[in-house]
């Protein structure tokens, strides 16, 4: 009887120990690039929730979720300029890795800005609409385009494709205040 109980206990301990070990391995596997498991997807979600969601691509990946996936595969955590130090600290806490300074080769951590189209100059080419990752620009071919300020993440991606350079990135309060049209900002 006692033998049987001992055997069962030992077996149970072994099973749980194995499960625990597996979970450890799984965590390691997550960090080293095995995708496709449901748990990995949740892990990426948790990383993604810490990122600022500007979808600007300054990190070198096309959007925040792709960068989150890359981080789950072991990419550096200091490539997100819009997030800056607060994001790096929270990523470091989640992943249990040391805090490192922001890699400024990807950009500076600046206050939030918003795109603004100088509407009398817009020729209606729709190129900015195609570039916007969050569909925050409305317009139709050969018609004037406009930015939905509340949706704009300030990612800068619409500025480059504009053939007539009519898009400015303005600091957030400037755009909502009266008199912004008269403002000429130096870049």
């Amino acid at each position: 009887m006692i033998g049987a109980i001992t055997a069962v206990t030992v077996l149970a301990a072994l099973v749980f120990g194995f499960a625990w070990l597996m979970s450890k391995f799984e965590h390691a596997a997550n960090l080293h690039g095995q995708q496709g498991t449901a748990e990995n997807s949740l892990f990426v979600d948790r990383i993604n929730n810490l990122l600022p969601q500007t979808q600007c691509g300054q990190c070198g990946f096309p959007g925040c979720r792709p960068y989150a996936e890359a981080i789950s595969r072991g990419e550096n955590i200091n490539r997100c300029p819009p997030g800056g130090m607060p994001t790096i600290k929270r990523l470091a806490a989640l992943l249990d890795v040391p805090v490192v300074p922001l890699d400024t080769s990807h950009g500076w951590h600046l206050p939030k800005r918003v795109a603004s189209i100088r509407e009398h100059e817009c020729i209606g080419c729709t190129k900015c609409i195609q570039a916007c990752p969050v569909d925050a620009i409305v317009g139709a071919p050969k018609r004037m385009h406009s930015v939905i300020v509340s949706d704009c993440t300030g990612c800068d991606l619409c500025v480059e494709p504009c053939p007539v350079d009519c898009i400015d990135m303005l600091p957030m309060p400037l755009i909502t205040a009266p008199g912004m049209v008269t403002l000429r900002m130096k870049k």
């Binding site: 993604n48 929730n49 990122l51 600022p52 969601q53 500007t54 979808q55 959007g63 925040c64 979720r65 300029p81 800056g84 130090m85 607060p86 600290k89 929270r90 806490a93 805090v99 300074p101 922001l102 400024t104 500076w108 951590h109 600046l110 206050p111 009398h120 100059e121 020729i123 080419c125 916007c132 990752p133 969050v134 569909d135 925050a136 949706d151 993440t153 053939p163 007539v164 600091p171 957030m172 309060p173 400037l174 909502t176 205040a177 008199g179 912004m180 008269t182 403002l183 000429r184 900002m185 130096k186």
Partner: protein, 593 residues
């Protein structure tokens, strides 16, 4: 029995006698005890040797550049109303207030706006050397930079109207004058003054002259030299907010300041306003942090606003003496807030002094003209040794909220702020809890902050912490507790923005979905076309017939070359129009001038 009789005697005879001598009933105010607090070495004598140095003067000339960050107050950034290249006069409005909590910004001197850029960081919070690089390298603030021309020219038309007889003005007009002058609290937090003054149902006004932090003497010097202006400012504030009583709380060890303020009150006694105002001076025990807003209110009135509420919510308004003087200037001389008294001190300074510095003056300019010993200056704090921020850069400007610049050796500052070398572990000695003026449990907060347990931090009253630094001073393990609290607060505040992030995330996901659907649709359409062709072949029709529409589609008819040419033409047209518009606007400007 005798004691009771004696107190009765005092109430019956002594109190009226005192009142007759002083003319004030408030001398017998009973003070309330403050929990906790410390008494660090004051070091105040250093900067109190001379008079306040005024800034465009022989001793300290005008700096070549003035750097004016758009956020010098708590609230949204101001909006520039000048352009790069504009000439601005002294006292001209250069940035407008935005929203309810906005504050205006004025040019401290005349000159040309050379840029509106992300300037040097104005202030950077952490003072722990392990972490000091973190924000100083990456945080940037938008600022207006003025290249001064040395003329200090002022257009008379630009100045705000001078209100000579403010006693006869309505409180609304006075409030508007205060708002137009761009006032925010000069004590340190930078809360917009106009909002505070506009609060309803204020019964007590407290003027805060209890400058309790070591080294800082800006308010003390101000009371010594400009007591009359402070008192008149207090009376104006009282008229605006309608408080019944006005109490000036001064620390008991500032003897000269107390004498000056009493002298000024005596001079005002003749006027009718002073008779009605119920003005009194209260001596506050010199304990750090008795000069905190809520702490001073608690000492004088015994009122504690509930957690999450401001003192104005319980009917008490508290302003520092510096703010009172700025209110006087705004109303009686029409001068906006373009300068403030700042203490420049520390053991690295050859001649520590109080300076009436122009807002936006680079710190390096002040240090250079007051004589700084570079070998001794190991770090520079903006603010006092307990609550100040470490300046990363010597070109940091003086802000509306900078009451002190402390240039010192490590040893000098270390005496009160333990920020050298990594700290040791918490031994739960409870010293911090015994000195906390808000009766929090700093060690519990520390563990919650260190392990980022945000809910626990909030439960333990993180947002009631006034960051006075008393806990960090007494900590035997030299833990920079306040740095942990500041960081935790910033993380929790950032978390509050996650709603916007979720929204952007959903937009991005929808965008991706739409792209996928469009791509699939295109493929499907191609397949359909092929299928159609195959069907046609199977039916024996000739391909050309089946696929030749009667009228060619207008878009398909254009060749790639044609489209390219048309786009180029459109671009050229717009460029031409742009140039034309610019020329026109320049012409207008020329003719306007």
């Amino acid at each position: 029995m005798t004691r009771v009789r004696r107190s009765l005697w005092a109430a019956k005879y002594l109190k009226p006698m005192l009142q007759r001598i002083t003319g004030k009933p408030g001398w017998s105010v009973k003070l309330h005890a403050l929990p906790g607090g410390i008494t660090p070495a004051s070091h105040k004598f250093m900067s109190l040797r001379g008079k306040i140095i005024h800034m465009p003067s022989g001793k300290i000339p005008l700096p070549a550049q003035l750097i004016l960050p758009l956020r010098q107050h708590s609230g949204p950034d101001s909006v520039p109303v000048v352009c790069v290249g504009d000439y601005v006069y002294k006292h001209q409005l250069i940035a407008e207030a935005v929203g309810a909590q906005g504050v205006c910004l004025h040019a401290p001197s005349s000159g040309v706006v050379s840029s509106i850029t992300f300037s040097l960081p104005a202030i950077n919070p952490p003072r722990n050397p392990e972490r000091s690089w973190q924000q100083s390298l990456t945080e940037r603030q938008l600022a207006i930079v003025i290249d001064t021309d040395g003329k200090d020219a002022q257009l008379p038309g630009l100045a705000a109207p001078i209100i000579t007889r403010w006693q006869q003005q309505s409180p609304t007009d006075l409030l508007q004058a205060v708002f137009n002058a761009g006032l925010c609290g000069l004590g340190g937090a930078g809360f917009p003054t106009a909002i505070k003054l506009g609060s309803p149902a204020i019964h007590t006004l407290i003027i805060n002259g209890a400058e309790c932090e070591p080294y800082i003497t800006a308010d003390e010097a101000l009371m010594q030299e400009h007591a009359a202006e402070v008192i008149e400012g207090a009376l104006i504030i009282q008229r605006i907010c309608g408080a019944r009583t006005c109490v000036i709380g001064i620390e008991a060890d500032k003897q000269e300041a107390i004498a000056a303020v009493q002298q000024a009150i005596r001079q005002f006694d003749s006027s009718a306003v002073a008779q009605q105002s119920n003005l009194s001076v209260v001596l506050v025990p010199p304990i750090y942090p008795s000069g905190g807003e809520k702490q001073l209110i608690r000492i004088i009135t015994g009122i504690q606003p509930p957690s999450g509420q401001r003192p104005v919510d319980v009917g008490v308004l508290c302003h520092s003496v510096a703010t009172a003087r700025a209110v006087y200037k705004a109303v009686a001389t029409g001068e906006p807030l373009v300068s403030r008294v700042t203490t420049v001190t520390g053991h690295a300074m050859n001649a520590p002094a109080n300076v009436e510095a122009l807002i936006g003056t680079p710190v390096s300019h002040l240090l250079a003209h007051l004589g700084v010993d570079d070998t001794k200056m190991e770090r520079l704090l903006v603010g006092g040794p307990l609550m100040g921020y470490l300046a990363s850069d010597l070109d940091t400007p003086v802000l509306k909220t900078s009451n002190c610049l402390l240039a010192g050796s490590d040893q000098d500052i270390n005496r009160v702020a333990s920020d050298k070398a990594p700290h040791r572990d918490c031994i739960r000695c409870d010293f911090c809890a015994s000195v906390c003026p808000v009766t929090l449990q700093p060690q519990t907060l520390y563990f919650a902050a260190r392990h980022q347990r945000h809910e626990a931090s909030i439960e333990n009253g993180l947002f009631d912490c006034i960051e006075c630094g008393a806990c960090a001073v007494v900590c035997p393990s030299h833990i920079p507790l306040v740095d942990y609290y500041r960081e935790e607060k910033s993380i929790i505040r950032a978390d509050n923005h996650s709603g916007q992030q979720k929204y952007w995330q959903s937009l991005f996901e929808k965008h991706q979905q739409r792209l996928t659907i469009t791509a699939v649709d295109q493929q499907q359409r191609k397949l359909d076309k092929l299928q159609h062709k195959l069907d046609a072949i199977a039916a024996g029709e000739s391909l050309s017939k089946a696929h030749q529409p009667e009228a060619p589609a207008p878009i398909a008819a254009k060749s790639a070359e044609q489209i390219k040419q048309e786009i180029a033409a459109a671009v050229a047209r717009t460029r031409a129009r742009k140039v034309e518009l610019q020329n026109k606007s320049e012409d207008n400007q020329d003719s306007g001038q």
